[in-house]
Amino acid sequence: MAKVLMKGNEAIGEAAIRAGCKNYFAYPITPQSEVAEYLSKRLPEEGGVFLQGESEVAVGYMIFGAAGAGERVMTTSSSPGISLMSEALSYIAAAQCPAVFVNIMRGGPGLGGILPSQGDYFQATKGGGHGDYHLLVLAPDGVQEAVEMTMQAFTLAEKYRNPVMIMGDGLIGQMMEPVEFPDGLKTEPTNKDDWATNGMAHRNSKKRNLVKSLFLDPTALNDNNLALKAKYAQMKKEEVQYELVNADTDYQVLITSYGTMSRVCRTAIDMLKEEGIEVAMLRPKTLFPFPEKAVFDASGKESCQAVISIEMSMGQMVEDVERCVKGRRPVEFYGECGGDIPSPEKIIEIIKALL
C-alpha cells in the first residue's frame, strides 16, 4: 500500500479501524482531540460505534462494559483524562478484560500544559489506579510506529486479557508523517465465549458469564492476583521490545530514552559520531514489560563509562534504568518538563560533560 501523509492522532484512529476495532468512546482533551474528530466521521462509515461520553470517568466504564461484552474497543485521552480513567483501568485489569487506551501525554501535574511531555511514565507503568496490576505499555517514537503499535495493541490485549496502553505525546499526536497501514498486523478477535458477557444465546450456552473484580474470600483474591502476576511474568518473557542504536561500537556513554525524546537523542548520537565520540542508545518500545536484561547487558560493555536516561520529565524511567544497571555504572539523568523538547545541541553538551 502507498504511504499517506497523516497527523499522528488521525493515524491512530485509522489504525484502530484497520485492526478491526469498531468501537470508540472518548472525551475531548488537547492534544488528542483529533482522534475523536476523525473517528466521529470514520466509524459511522464503517458501521461502528462512536460515542462522546460525559467525562473520562464515564468513558473508562463504557470501555469496561464494551470490553466485558467481548467487543474490541478503544479510547484515547491525554494526561488529566487518563488520571480519571485510572479507576476503570484498575477494575478492567482486575476483571481481566482486553481494551486499548491511548495516552497522548501533555505536561503535568495538575492542568499542566498542552505541550508534549513524558510525565506519565510512573502512572502508566507502576499503576495509576489502585491495587496490584500492570498495563502492557507501548511507546512509539513516531507516527508509523504509533500506527503499528495501535494495531498490535488489540492482539496483545486479547492475548493477555489485559488493558494495553499506548504512550504517545503531544508531538506524536500533532505532527504529520508518511504512514502505511500494514495488513499483516490485523488479527482475528479471539474467541471470548469462555468469559465475556456476550449473552448466553449468542454463545449457545446455558452457563452464564461474570465479569467482576470483587473477591471477598482472601484465598480467591490471592488466587486472582496470582493469576495476574503470572500474566505479567509471561509478558516479561514474551513481549519485551526495544531498539539498540549505535551499540556495535565501543560507546563511551549509553543513553536510555523513548518516544519523541529518543528521536532527538538519535540525532545527537549522529552528530557526536562525526566528532569521533561514540554514544549508544537503548530505546525501550515496551515500557512495561521493561527491557531489564537489555539495559543490564548494554550498560556492562567495557567501554561504557556512564548511563544517562534522557526524558521529557523530572526523572521517571531513570528509576527503572538504575534498577536494571544494578550499580555497575553511574546512572545520570537529564530531562526537561515544561513542554520544550531539548535540542540535539543540548544533549551533546550534557553527554560531553559526562566524559
Binding site: 460515542l51 464515564a58 463504557m62 466485558g68 461484552a69 467487543e71 449473552g199 465479569v211
Partner: protein, 218 residues
C-alpha cells in the same frame, strides 16, 4: 395440576446474604419474573452496583458485570452500544445512583440510552454500615448524622426519579413499594412492560422505595 407458584428461571437457587426482612430478595424476584415473562434470560446482561446488592449476580442466572461505585450506567452504555441486541439492566442503590453515580445516570438518560435501571432507595448507605446518603430524610439518624439529618435542604428521596425524568424525554416509572404484597403485585406488570420498552427504545429508571432500615441495622 397446574403449578401456581415457582421460582423464576432467571433466579438462581443461591441463598441471599441480605439482612432478614430485607426486600432486595423481593425485588430480585420481580426482576427475574419480568425476564422470564419476556423470555430474554439468554440475551440479558445485568450490572451489579457497589452497595448491598453488589453480589446480585449470585442470585440471577444470566450474564452479569460488576461496576465500580456509581458507574453502572456508563458500563450499561458501553455494553448496549456495542451489542444492541442484548437486554441490559443496572440494579443500583441510592448512594450508588443518587450520590456518586448521579452524573452517569443523568447523562445516560439524557442520551436516551436503551437500558433499564432498577433504583433501590433505602435512604441510607446500607453496605458500609448506615452512613447518611443524599436521600436521607430530615430527622433520620445515620452513623454520620447521629443527631438526625440536619441539612438545611429537605432531603426528599421521592424527588430524584422525577428530576431525572425532566432531563430526558423518556418517562420514569412511578415509584413502587416493595414491602407490601399489593405493592409487589402492582410492580410486576409495569416491570416487564418497562423492560420490554427499554430494550427496544430508550432509557428508563425504575425505582423502588424501601422504608429506611433500622439505624442499628447493617
Amino acid at each position: 395440576m397446574a403449578k401456581a407458584f415457582s421460582r423464576p428461571k432467571a433466579l438462581s437457587t443461591t441463598h441471599t446474604h441480605y439482612c432478614p426482612g430485607c426486600t432486595h430478595g423481593i425485588v430480585h424476584r420481580l426482576v427475574a419474573e419480568a425476564i422470564d415473562d419476556l423470555g430474554i434470560q439468554e440475551k440479558t446482561v445485568g450490572i451489579a452496583p457497589v452497595g448491598c446488592a453488589v453480589l446480585a449476580y449470585n442470585y440471577f442466572d444470566c450474564d452479569f458485570q460488576e461496576a465500580a461505585h456509581g458507574r453502572a450506567p456508563a458500563m450499561a452504555t458501553g455494553i448496549k452500544r456495542v451489542r444492541p441486541d442484548l437486554m441490559v439492566f443496572t440494579y443500583q442503590g441510592d448512594g450508588d445512583l443518587a450520590s456518586i453515580g448521579m452524573g452517569e445516570i443523568i447523562h445516560a438518560a439524557n442520551r436516551g440510552e436503551k437500558f433499564t435501571t432498577i433504583f433501590i432507595n433505602n435512604a441510607i448507605y446500607g453496605m458500609t454500615g448506615g452512613q447518611m446518603a443524599p436521600t436521607t430524610m430530615p430527622g433520620q439518624r445515620a452513623t454520620t448524622a447521629p443527631l438526625g439529618g440536619t441539612r438545611p435542604r429537605p432531603a426528599c428521596p421521592s424527588a430524584w426519579p422525577t428530576c431525572w425524568a425532566n432531563w430526558s424525554p423518556r418517562i420514569c416509572h412511578p415509584p413502587g413499594r416493595a414491602q407490601t404484597p399489593a405493592g409487589q403485585q402492582g410492580q410486576k406488570k409495569p416491570l416487564s412492560r418497562r423492560f420490554n420498552i427499554k430494550w427496544k427504545t430508550g432509557a428508563s429508571v425504575l425505582w423502588k422505595w424501601f422504608p429506611p432500615v433500622p439505624p442499628t441495622g447493617a
